[in-house]
């Protein structure tokens, strides 16, 4: 099997998410440049993110080497990272 058959990008070495540059089906294996392998837990649509590091609830989510929010629940490696498990930190008038 060819390594890195699915296109994705990790934008900054400190990121804990990767961006799928094409649809990646569940159970596929992704090969990171640091030598580790990741099993994708559920289908990742084009442009969507998956976790490359385990995150506990409340952990900072990093993309572009910058903070994009915090996890609202435990996120295992290979999970889809999106609105169901990430909260924004900014413009939160609902959290006074």
């Amino acid at each position: 099997m060819t390594q890195n058959q699915y296109k994705f990008v990790v934008l900054n070495p400190s990121d804990n998410v990767a961006v799928a540059l094409e649809e990646i089906p569940a159970d596929e294996t992704i090969y990171l440049s640091n030598g580790t392998n990741i099993t994708i837990k559920s289908l990742i649509e084009f442009g969507h993110k998956f976790s490359i590091k385990k995150m506990s609830k409340g952990d900072t989510v990093i993309k572009y080497g910058e903070v994009i929010g915090r996890s609202s629940q435990l996120i295992e490696v290979g999970e889809h990272v999106h609105v169901h498990n990430v909260e924004g930190n900014r413009g939160r008038g609902d959290q006074k």
Partner: protein, 388 residues
């Protein structure tokens, strides 16, 4: 001729237009229907529908006035027929008086003074027709890229926006700045979470401080509303495109600003006082942002999109750039250029930047954008106060 030259219209005040419109400027919503009728009668005229111009006060009144003035003063406009009703808060005659100071032809028509809609249309059409004939005798002359103010905007963003089209626009922004032009970054809402990166590039402590001030002011609006800003931004389409939080969207949006130093922060619809990269304080709402930048003097707008939008301005060509190749293929009616090659791995950010720059010079010399061909004349003023 140098590599970065185009053929534009040199105005009396030294500014350069890339279009030669006669604008029918309705300064009150009550006059917009008559204004649209005039555009149907007279070739070469443009106008727009809006809901503003009466029972506005204070800063909100000033901002709307500044927008009317700025749209008329934009160098893409040869002359203006200011069309009012007569009894409204935003008096057409005051807008006309200010516009006359630019030296361009300005005529004033009032529906109440003319004795009703049909007579106002008749007189408006007559003065507009005369203006169009004069405008058509003006010739394009060689102009420099340093004569340009280019607005940058992203709308209907997806996760590719921050990877392809926005960095390519950032490259163009840097090239424009290097050659002495002006690039406008805007949509303050969609820079929340990326403000520190721009503040670092501010030319002075004062500008850096102002970055944090306008961000706080915008964020405080959401906080005062008692809602999570994510209920409105990122939009449902942004989220479907893979954007999870406003901060993530902002970090992608900030790429449009390239790497140049941030010269100043300007108010909505205000003309930049400096060359180089400037930041106009506008909301993220696409049409309000577009209107603000063109009222600030932008002759052309670069607009990136991942979901696909038809957006265009009545007076400024808007070059639509897709962030991904499937969108470029799907919405061929609306999208001018594709940055999706960067995602596909077939093109570099510099390659796409060069293509955009080439297209800018073509469009500034007269090539029509798809939004212009489809008469997508969007106009919306950022209201910052209630109506009374």
């Amino acid at each position: 001729m140098s590599k970065h030259t185009f053929m534009g219209y040199r105005r009396q005040d030294g500014s350069v237009g890339v279009r030669n419109h006669v604008l029918i400027l309705p300064t009150i919503t009550c006059a917009t229907q008559a204004a649209m009728q005039i555009t149907k009668l007279v070739h070469g005229t443009v106008s727009f529908i809006h809901q503003h111009g009466c029972a506005q006060v204070g800063d909100d009144f000033e901002q709307t006035f500044r927008t009317y003035y700025g749209i008329g003063a934009n160098p893409n406009v040869y002359g203006v027929v200011v069309l009012g009703l007569g009894c409204e808060t935003h008096q057409a005659k005051n807008v006309a008086t200010e516009l006359k100071k630019t030296g361009k032809p300005v005529e004033l028509v009032s529906i109440q003074d003319e004795g009703g809609t049909l007579d106002a249309i008749s007189r408006g059409a007559k003065v507009a027709a005369k203006m169009v004939r004069e405008a058509s005798s003006q010739r394009r002359v060689p102009c420099e890229i340093s004569d340009l103010i280019i607005g940058t905007e992203c709308g209907g963003s997806d996760a590719c926006s921050g990877l392809s089209a926005n960095p390519a626009v950032g490259r163009v922004s840097d090239l424009l700045v290097e050659h002495g032009g002006t690039a406008i970054l805007a949509e303050t809402t969609e820079l929340i979470g990326a403000e520190h990166l721009l503040a670092e590039r501010a030319v002075s402590e004062q500008v850096s401080k102002k970055v944090y001030e306008i961000i706080k002011s915008m964020e405080d609006r959401a906080i005062k509303a008692g809602v999570d800003i994510r209920t409105g931004n990122p939009s449902p389409g942004n989220r479907r495109g893979g954007l999870t939080t406003l901060e993530e969207k902002s970090l992608g949006a900030a790429n449009k600003a390239g790497t140049s130093a941030l010269q100043e922060i300007i108010a909505y619809a205000e003309k930049p006082t400096k060359k180089g990269l400037v930041w106009m304080d506008t909301p993220g709402q696409d049409i309000e942002q577009l209107t603000g930048m063109t009222a600030g003097g932008a002759q052309l707008v670069l607009f990136t999109t991942g979901r696909g939008t038809p957006t265009g301005s009545p007076i400024a060509p808007t070059i639509k750039i897709s962030t991904n190749t499937p969108l470029f293929k799907k919405m061929d009616d609306n999208i001018d250029l594709n940055a999706g090659g960067i995602i596909d791995g077939t093109e570099s950010i510099d390659d796409v930047g060069e293509q955009i720059l080439h297209e800018i010079l073509e469009v500034c010399s007269g090539k029509l954008t798809k939004a212009e061909i489809l008469k997508q004349h969007d106009f919306g003023i950022w209201r910052i106060g209630p109506t009374f």
